[in-house]
């Protein structure tokens, strides 16, 4: 990669590019490349490799997800070599925060006969068995050296094991067969913390909020009265106020999570709207909001204006213990304000089908995985026309005034490259989402990792890939076989 996002500082640092410069109001970016770098197979690295990589990536037939994020409504960008060590990439329109995307672009050799095996990074692929493991081998031509002038990486090989069973993962880690575990669930982590405190490392809040949303789509096959409930802000806010987020974090995640306020977790330091606090747990306030909206709570049962008892189902993916537990806890919380919640766990396939195709569901409890800190990555979620606008996807025109307002702010942040103005616009989006509660943010999990006693230089971060983002500097105390995250 040309640049790397330092997972700890959340700043970009130079790698294959020694420097870069944006020009023409964000429509062009010029990289100055490092000299004397060779691929793992010995072929030299130069501007033509970057151009080749970029062209391959932008080929629509390749369906590259990273390529998609470079593309905009106005068209695809073009790469051009200015000299052997200078590349210019031109965009049809300014794209805000585009340079961070280069963190995810792996440069491929234009000349090497065995392209897939020629790497520029610290390790090269040696062996790969699908669903089982990936074996990486030290790249002898890696350019980077440590402060003492020693060539990086320190490790000779890395074996990435793909394990299906969390129980097995933990057992092998405890036996020392695995040196690193990239992600532990809270249950396993709590157990690890109890008997090997030094190995259990809490990397802090992740970018992954757990949330619940109601199906507000007018096309859904739900009865009209349920659509009316779900489209009512008072109803959504009341449900939100009835949920005890502290209890969720404490009991489901053993305290390794915190109540969530909005789409941007506190971990995303540059973008979070710090003025927003999680919706407070207050069943009394919940009932007051509902009564104001025409609902009545009588002898423990909440009824709407027409006298229909409020009952709805929440779907979540089966096998995720934490979500099943959260659903059960929310069930009890909502019972206190007279709402009957039915928990339905579905296999992931049927769940996705329901929330994206048939829209035959009432509410859904799911987590969001954010790999990217920049709000542009969330365009699809917030624009009312977006396919991932879960509560009412792919609208022709915004169904509500507040969705129209979100659309405006999202477009505004995307159309400028000025960080302060982008931040201000995205703050507005977060504020509206907080007020209208289309997503009820529940908790933000901490990123929990396991680090074996022999591993050195680990800087666990709460962004992917948490334990080995700085893989070239990882080392083992006793020079044993290699690390196995």
């Amino acid at each position: 990669m040309l640049l790397r996002l330092n997972r700890q500082t959340q700043q970009l640092e130079p790698k294959l590019a020694v420097s870069w410069r944006q020009s023409e109001g964000g429509k062009a970016i010029t990289f100055r490349l490092r000299d004397g770098v060779r691929f793992s197979d010995g072929t030299p690295f130069g501007a033509e490799d970057v151009v080749y990589t970029f062209e391959t990536m932008m080929d629509p037939a390749k369906l590259s997800p990273v390529g998609d994020s470079f593309r905009s409504a106005q068209g695809a960008p073009q790469a051009r070599a200015l000299s052997t060590s200078q590349v210019e990439i031109r965009f049809p329109a300014p794209v805000a925060g585009v340079e961070r995307l280069f963190d995810q672009v792996t440069i491929v050799s234009a000349r090497s006969p065995r392209k897939a095996m020629a790497a520029l990074g610290p390790f090269a692929l040696k062996e790969h068995r699908a669903g089982s493991y990936v074996l990486l081998e030290r790249n002898p031509n890696y350019w980077e050296k440590d402060a003492n002038g020693r060539a990086l990486p320190y490790l000779d090989a890395v074996r990435l094991e793909i394990l299906q069973n969390r129980e097995m993962e933990l057992i092998r880690f405890r036996r020392g067969e695995l040196h690193l575990v990239n992600k532990l669930d809270a249950d396993s982590f709590a157990r690890l913390a109890a008997d090997a405190p030094s190995a259990a490392r809490d990397a802090g809040p992740s970018l992954e909020p757990e949330m619940l949303w109601f199906n507000q789509s007018p096309q859904s096959p739900l009865p009209a009265h349920k659509k009316a409930w779900f489209q009512s802000r008072a109803f959504r806010r009341a449900v939100s106020a009835a949920i005890n987020r502290e209890d969720l974090a404490r009991l489901v995640y053993h305290g390794y999570a915190r109540p969530a306020a909005g789409p941007v977790p506190a971990a995303n330091r540059n973008w979070v709207n710090t003025s927003l606090a999680p919706h407070a747990y207050n069943p009394g306030d919940a009932v007051a909001r509902l009564e104001k909206d025409g609902f009545r709570l009588r002898s423990g049962v909440l009824r709407d204006g027409k006298g229909t008892a409020v009952e709805f189902s929440v779907i979540t993916n089966a096998g995720n213990k934490a979500r099943e537990k959260m659903a059960a806890m929310i069930q009890q919380d909502l019972a206190k304000i007279g709402i009957k919640l039915n928990v339905v766990t579905l296999d992931f396939g049927s769940l996705i089908e329901r929330i994206t195709k048939t829209l035959n569901y009432e509410s859904c409890l799911l987590g969001l995985v954010n790999l990217d800190l920049d709000p542009n990555a969330q365009m699809n979620v917030w624009l009312s026309s977006g396919a991932s606008h879960q509560w009412n996807p792919a609208q022709k025109s915004p169904a509500t005034a507040w969705e129209a307002e979100i659309d405006t702010w999202m477009r505004k942040q995307a159309s400028t490259t000025d960080p302060a103005r982008r931040k201000a616009a995205f703050d507005q989006v977060q504020r509206i989402a907080w007020e209208e509660a289309p997503f009820l943010y529940l908790v933000t999990k901490n990123f929990l990792v396991g680090v074996g006693p022999a591993v050195r230089n680990v800087q666990p971060a709460s962004l992917h890939p948490a334990v080995f983002w700085n893989i070239e500097r990882l080392a083992l105390a006793a020079e044993t076989s290699g690390i196995r995250p």
Partner: protein, 268 residues
């Protein structure tokens, strides 16, 4: 042997009546979360402690027994009845009927029925009560579970077909239907009884596995299978040994059923 059988009967009666009276005997509602007392050790308030959501383990166990120990035998009954009729008929008739049966049972044993379970869950309304989904799951387990026991029944029926008393019944001019029911299926009863009590723990565990896929008995209704799933966490079991109670109950019930039913067949 006789004392043992009476003791087994006593255990069964105790467990079944306790699970029938679960509502009366439970110290707490089975779904109530006492969030300030999670993973509590046994105490006067919680005789068997609480689970990781602060729910009373004893109350959950009682209700789990009610769900699993009533529905699993019902499913086993469905499966063994089908097995007796289909396997008995195939073994008795032989020929084409038998070949069709063997193909069909092969198919039933090899098909990935999970898909059927998945589609059944998505056919049930989302707001279906947990009890409805529990009954549907066990019923389906029963309907799909005939093939294994039926193969055993068929093998026995093949032997019975050649027996003197079946030949004698034919010489008496008995109708094929009565022959099947009275001469074949009646004589398969010891075999079917064995299949029946084998099927009960199998179905209880099958329900637990389905639970992992979001089928079966849904929250907050407990089932024995669901409680057994907690035993996966071996470290928790070591620190809270009372968690193994559901496993003991399941083994106890199966063992006692074996004793009681087995004795019945010896006497006959």
């Amino acid at each position: 042997m006789k004392q043992l059988r009476i003791a087994a009967m006593g255990v069964l009666v105790a467990i079944f009546s306790a699970s029938l009276a679960a509502d009366l005997l439970s110290p707490h509602p089975y779904g109530e979360q006492y969030r300030d007392a999670v993973n509590a050790a046994p105490s006067r308030a919680f005789p068997m402690g609480t689970d990781d959501m602060g729910r009373d383990r004893l109350s959950r166990l009682l209700h789990a027994c009610r769900v699993s120990l009533l529905l699993a035998p019902a499913a086993a009954l469905v499966a063994t009845t089908l097995a007796g009729l289909l396997g008995g008929a195939a073994g008795y008739l032989g020929g084409t009927a038998d070949r069709v049966f063997l193909r069909l049972s092969d198919l039933f044993l090899s098909l990935p029925w999970l898909f059927l379970f998945l589609s059944v869950r998505s056919l049930l309304p989302l707001n279906a009560a947990p009890a409805v989904s529990a009954v549907a799951t066990f019923l389906l387990l029963g309907v799909l579970g005939w093939a294994g026991p039926a193969r055993v029944a068929r093998a026995c029926a093949c032997g019975l077909r050649q027996s003197d008393f079946v030949m004698q019944a034919k010489a008496n001019g008995r109708s094929p239907m009565r022959l099947l029911l009275v001469e074949i299926v009646r004589n398969l009863r010891p075999v079917l009884a064995a299949q029946f009590w084998l099927a009960i723990p199998v179905f209880v565990l099958a329900e637990a596995n389905l639970g992992l896929l979001g089928l079966g008995v849904s929250e907050p209704l407990p089932s024995l299978g669901g409680l057994l799933r907690e035993l996966e966490n071996y470290q928790a079991v070591v620190s809270q040994p009372w968690m193994v109670a559901p496993a003991i109950i399941l083994i106890g019930v199966t063992g006692c059923l074996h004793l009681v039913l087995g004795w019945e067949e010896i006497r006959r």
